[in-house]
Symmetry: C2
Subunit: 292 residues, 2 copies
DNA sequence: CGTCATTACGGAATGCGTAATGATA
DNA sequence: TATCATTACGCATTCCGTAATGACG
């Protein structure tokens, strides 16, 4: 088999049609150049250059081989590029899980930034509830998730990417809509409250239960999706607690009310495996907004 | 820059995911294999294999590079093939000159054999009178010609590829058509004879003049092409001498008559430059029929 | 303690450069 | 005689294989 040096030698001679000039171009002397070309000819099994002491010219076989040699060397030049880009996280694939809610305010800007700063990264989106994302992360089906606590922080690392207040959503003609002040837990006394699945939307379920712990509302529904909750509210089935960004969903016939008291923060976490090695992931993490 | 050996080493390890087995496959021991892979990684500028003492696996960069490496090695495998085929004359281009007459019986079979035995040879056809072919050969526009003497045998080599008798062509109702015996020179006495251009169809011109030297026919036309001659005969403008294969042109209204006496042979020569180096030409020459 | 990748070291092979050769105009 | 590719030869580098080291289960 021939070597890449031999290819370079041949191409140089073929282009210069002169061993001396070709050797100069390759920063070497003629004799080794001669030998390299001879070796290449032996390896290929065909005479590539017709040469005597007066002229050098390509044979037809040499003409044909020159094309291949150039193609090969060009490929050598660029072969490492992709690998380097992948290594630096500038190319590759990111399998990103997200909850329907996170898509409202967080996912869009993130995707926009990704496509601007890492245009060679393909993002494959998977809409899943948080437990589904955690499952996917652990199985290696996802590289990064956008979800809510809780999760096993031994194997999963995370970072808060957004924090927003919780608010109430009530039918437009509801008495709570007319109060014109932040609602307290007590305001919900006796209200029909729509809440979340304790397993599939545990985070919102617990936020709701915690906020309303002192009053004793009737909790009937066990819904997974924020949007479903709001649609049920619009249908007059009750009131609910949702993250403030839900206001932007544009559902008609409902009113959003602030809640009284501090600390009703809804956190969205970026979650990934601690042992993840994906360069794309590492790179994406460096550009994630961090909220403390 | 990396070497092809390094690529092979990397591909072997990437496929075996085990340095020991990969080394065995490459007929070498582990240590140099390790070093080759390390060198490759340094040359590429990215870690390609994630390895500790228990497992070996591809990084994402390595995954990307593996594709390139395979493509490159495949190209290396096949790079020499075309050159070898060209060298052996089994691929390439043959620029072939021919006279209209040679096409009748010789060109077709030749082209058929070429496409069967050398399917990767492209034949580019140039219909030219013999002087035009010789010009083309000398200028390097043609590789091989099918023409008639004379030509300069110092620079051009040749071989007779067919020999056929000369015959007379006369109008169907002509008195010579009714004789029913081979015609002699004397039979043409007083006939209107159509002959050939002394420069552009010198060979047939001289054949005609030589045969008819003793009689004294009236020679009026100066035609280049055999077909034109026959059409003129059909039109009643005279009689003419043509190669026997002209019978197969299928012109109506004419009769072909044998000529008396021996040696009225029409030779067709394959002609090429003595200094021609084209492997295709060499290969084609070996399969040309040779008539002595 | 066994497995497996890596580092250490000695010897062989490859490759370059200088010098000599040969062939051509 | 001048040019230019090739062969001859000495030296440096590269690369392999054996042996030793190190890390991990």
């Amino acid at each position: 088999m021939f070597s890449l040096d031999q290819l370079s030698a041949f191409v140089a001679v073929a282009e210069e049609l002169h061993f001396g000039r070709a050797a100069e171009r390759l920063n070497m002397t003629q004799p080794p150049l001669s030998r390299q070309v001879q070796k290449l000819e032996r390896a290929v099994g065909a005479r590539l250059l017709e040469r005597d002491n007066r002229k050098v010219e390509l044979t037809e076989a040499g003409q044909a081989f020159l094309t291949e040699a150039r193609r090969l060397l060009a490929l050598v030049e660029t072969a490492g590029d992709l690998a380097r880009r992948v290594d630096q996280g500038a190319a590759g694939t990111l399998r990103l899980g997200f909850t329907a809610t996170s898509a409202i305010r967080t996912l869009g800007p993130l995707l926009r930034r990704l496509s601007e700063e890492l245009p060679d990264v393909d993002v494959i989106l998977h809409e899943r509830v948080t437990p589904g994302q955690i499952d996917g992360l652990l199985r290696g089906e996802l590289d990064l998730g956008l979800g809510r606590p809780p999760f096993d922080s031994d194997v999963l690392d995370s970072r808060i990417v957004s924090r927003e207040p919780l608010c109430a959503v009530v039918p437009g003609n509801h008495r709570l809509a007319a109060l014109g002040r932040p609602l307290t837990s007590a305001d919900f006394s006796g209200e029909q409250v729509i809440s979340y699945s304790p397993t599939q939307a545990r985070y919102f379920h617990e936020l709701t239960v915690r906020f309303l712990a002192e009053s004793h509302p009737r909790i009937e529904q066990r819904v997974q999706q924020i949007l479903t909750v709001i649609l049920l509210v619009a249908a007059g089935r009750g009131v609910a607690l949702v993250p403030a960004s839900a206001r932007h969903l544009g559902v008609e016939g409902v009113t959003y009310c602030d809640l009284a008291g501090p600390g009703q923060a809804v956190e969205l976490h970026a979650i990934w495996r601690r042992d993840a090695t994906s360069p794309v992931l590492q790179r994406v993490l460096t550009m994630l907004p961090e909220h403390h």
